[in-house]
Symmetry: C2
Subunit: 319 residues, 2 copies
Amino acid sequence: MKNGYIGVDIGGMSVKAGIVTIDGKIIKKDRVPTDTSNGSEPFLASMKTLIVGLIKEANKLGYEIKGIGFGAPGVVNSEEGTIDYATNLKLYHVKVREYLKDLNIPIYISNDANVAALAEQRFGAAKGYHDAVMITLGTGVGSGIVINNKLFEGNLGKGAELGHMVIVVDGEECNCGRRGCFERYASTSALIRETQEVMQQNKESIMWNYCGYDINRVDGTTSFECAKAGDKAANQVIDTYIKYLGEGLLNVCNIFRPQAIILGGGVSAQKDYLKNKVQKYLEDHYYGYHETPRSEVVIAALTNDAGIIGAAILGFPEK
Amino acid sequence: MKNGYIGVDIGGMSVKAGIVTIDGKIIKKDRVPTDTSNGSEPFLASMKTLIVGLIKEANKLGYEIKGIGFGAPGVVNSEEGTIDYATNLKLYHVKVREYLKDLNIPIYISNDANVAALAEQRFGAAKGYHDAVMITLGTGVGSGIVINNKLFEGNLGKGAELGHMVIVVDGEECNCGRRGCFERYASTSALIRETQEVMQQNKESIMWNYCGYDINRVDGTTSFECAKAGDKAANQVIDTYIKYLGEGLLNVCNIFRPQAIILGGGVSAQKDYLKNKVQKYLEDHYYGYHETPRSEVVIAALTNDAGIIGAAILGFPEK
C-alpha cells in the first residue's frame, strides 16, 4: 500500500474532501453540503461519513491513509484539534479530533487561509520557495505564513492574522473592533468603497457607464477594468488601492522577508496587471536598509483545490 | 570537560565576550574596545585575540567551547556568518565565520536585538514561555522574535524588523525611507518629540520646571516622571505614547500571539508603571475575535548581560 492523505476543506456551502498523494495530486474527491443548522453533532457525523467513504476508496486504490487534515474558517486550536469560533458557520468549540479518534488516524486542523498558503507554497505559485506569505484579497483579507517549509500559525494556531495588522492608527473601523486594519484598505470591500467615493467626485468617469449608472452594482472589477481602459478616476482608485496594499506588504517584508508573496482571493483575478503594479510598488519603496532579499510577488495558482491539498499537507511527514 | 559556549556582544564602544554555561551563567567575561577606524581586519583580529583568550580560560576551568555566537548591530547574514551592513560601526560585508574558521568551533551570528530576545526568553523575564517577542524602546525600536524556543529572524536573518512596520500610512518620516514606522511613535526619540510638542502648547506644565526651562534637556523620563506627579500635559503625552505603542503591540499579538511581550531599552526603566499601562491597553483593545490567548507584558531583566548570554545561546545544541 502506498501512503495517502485526506484533505478536508470546510466551506460555507459544502465540505469538500479529497485523497491526496505525497506529490500533491488529488486522486479522488467528494463533498457533502455544509449543514450546521441542527448543531455540530450532525455536521460532524456527515463529515465523518464523507471521510470514511474516502478511506475505503483509498484502500481500494492501494493507498493507506496516514493523516487527515482540516482547513476551517475562523479560529481553530491546532493543538487541541478543535474549531473554536467560526461565526459564519455557527460552529463553536467543536472537537473535531476527539470526534474522529476511533479512526485511529492522526487528525490535524488549521485555518483555511493557512492551508491555502501551504498548498501554494508546496505545489502552487510559490513552489521552490521555502519562505512564503499568502494574502487573500477577498471580502476580508486572509493570510497564511510558511516559514522553512512549515506553516507558521502563531501560538495555538491563532496568529498569522495579517489582515488585522493596523496600518492606519485611528483609520477606518474594522469588524474586529480595532480601527485602520490592513483589511479595511486591501479587501474587495475596501476597493468597492474607494471606487464609490471616487465615482461620486467624478461624474464623468466611465466607471458610471461600466456599472450601468447604478453605484450599488460597483464590484471589485469596476475600477480595474476602467483603469485599463484609461479612465483617470479609475486609475486614481487603483493607485490608492495599490499604495495601501503595498504598505501592508512592505510590513510583511520587514517582518518575514518571504521569498515569495502569494496574492489570492477575488482581486487576484487581475493577475499580471495586479502583480506588476504591486511588485513595482515594493521595489520603489523598499525598506531603506541595504542587502535585504527581494520578495517575488506571485498570483495564486491552485484556486479551487488549494483547500483540499493544503489540508492534506498538514498530515504529511515532516520534511 | 563540561560543555561551554562563548557569547560575543559587539557594541558601539566595546566588544564584550563571556564564557556561558548551558544554564545561562556567565563564568568569565572580558572585553576589547570596538575600533573599526582601520577597517575590519584589525577589528576582527582584536576580536579573535579576545576569543582565543577566553577559550584558554575555559579549558583551564574545565570547559570545552562547543560554539561561539555573535550579536551584531545592523544587518547580518546568519547563513553566511557575515556582518553585511552595520553603518554606525562602519562595518560592511565582514566575514566573521570565515575569519575564525581555524578555531574549528561552530560560529553563529545574529542581530543584537534578536540575541537579547533569546536571552530574555531562555533565562530572563520571559523564562518558561516558548513564544515571546521582545521590543526594545530606545533611540530606535529594535525587536527580536522567539517562536517555539527558537529565534525567528526572517529569511537569511534579515527580518523581524518590527520597528519598521508602518502603523500610520503617510505618517512621520523614518530614517529607513518609509513614513509612519512603529519606531517613529514608540522610540525614545518619538517620546521626546511628543513631549516637546505638548510642552509648547502647555506653558504651565511642570515639565518645564523638570527640564530646567530648557526644552532641549527633555529626555525619555520627563513626561513619565511629571505624569506620575499628576501633571495633566505630561499625562497627555504618556496616553498618546501608550496608544501608539499599544497599537503596534496589538499588531504583534495578531501576527505572533506571543505568550510574552518583553519590553526593553531606555523607556523600560519605567518598569511596572509602563508595564501596567501597556497591559491595560492590550486588554482594553484586544482583537475582536474570541478565544485568543493572552499576551503577558514583562520588563527585560538581564539588561547588561543579555547580549553575551543571547549570543552564546546561538551555539547551544537544539532543544
